[in-house]
Amino acid sequence: MKKVRIRGVGHYAPERVVTNEYLATIVDTNDEWIQTRTGIQSRRFVAPDQTTSDMAAEAARMAMKQAGIQPDDIDLVVVGTSSPDMLYPSTACVVCDKLQLKSPTAFDLQAGCSGFVYGLTTATQFLRTGLKKNALVIGADAISRFIDFSDRTTCVLFGDAAGAMLLSSTEEGSDQVLCSIDGTDGSGGKYLSMPAGGAQKPASIYTLQNHEHSVHMNGKEIFKFAVRISIYMIENMLQQTGLTIDDIDHFVFHQANVRIIDAAVNRMGFSKEKVIYTLHEYGNTSSASIPFTLSLANQNGTIKENDIVLMVVFGAGLTYAGSIVRW
């Protein structure tokens, strides 16, 4: 088997800052309510002429630059997204065009918020077998385009962003992806969905009137699933690798809600000092959440070379995924 190296990371968030105070002017909510229940203070929304692939391409450019890898050398593109530019072509194909990539294997991976980490595990297999040399794994979502602003409990949660990681296959050195875990509980699909717009319920005047083209979520059920599955994944990955909590330098949880992260951390009894947060400023950026947080923490020097980083995510499906990497 060949080894997987993390060569670069990148991130992008749109310029428009949407504060809790602003949201309070268009929905029945307030800053205190949002902050105590979610930890979120602001989020970013795409501009009218911007879309998911634009953010994905920006994050990818940053990762490619950091890695020193040219567009011609990329032979795999995986975009984790649940807010693609359109049903088809895939956002990954649009990204290939925007970055002028030669002819890579390119596809979207729809695993809700878990898309990036699912993509990381998928790309890792291509690289270890040697089938592909340089993989661009992206998590990008513009959930603001699918928010129902009459649903006050859900519309405050999401922000738009993208994050990317460039991984290469090499003969030498050690593999930087130490372990992974992922899975699905399909029975929980009903708790987080966008009911219309697919083959089951195509767009119609009725689906529009019923607000079925937006995020529908049962927050309580997702909270329970998220806390329990995050703990399960952490324990499973520590067992797989023989590492202990103390060996982990940074915990990167899915940035869905500070209350979920805190509930999991409190139950496991480790220090919050090792947990990296970006949700206060950027909200839940869905698939972008993990790679965006990794890249930001890399840029500001929080994550350093050789650090052990554990990431866990959960999302629509219900899906879950985790990985431990050596930076």
């Binding site: 229940r37 049962n218 309580k220 329970k224 806390v227 209350r259 509930a263």
Partner: protein
């Protein structure tokens, strides 16, 4: 399990999850009005009690358990 035994297990869980003193957790206390819980705080308590007593409290039942006493009654019946 006696009511007293359940109460002794329930008090520290509620106190820990809501960050309040144990003596505030009295039988007729209302989770939201008296103990300052919000919806996620209630889910957190429900989860912890499910684990403590090895049972499942469905969301439609949990929504009706508004006081410490009603929670204890439910646990005694279900456990």
């Amino acid at each position: 399990m006696t009511r007293e035994e359940v109460l002794q297990k329930v008090i520290p869980v509620i106190s820990d999850k809501l960050g309040i003193d144990e003596d505030q957790v009295v039988g007729d206390a209302h989770f939201i009005n008296d103990l300052g819980a919000d919806s996620l705080g209630l889910v957190d308590i429900t989860m912890a009690l499910e684990e403590e007593f090895g049972l499942e409290i469905p969301d439609e039942d949990a929504g009706k358990l508004e006081t410490v006493n009603s929670m204890i009654d439910y646990i005694i019946k279900a456990a």
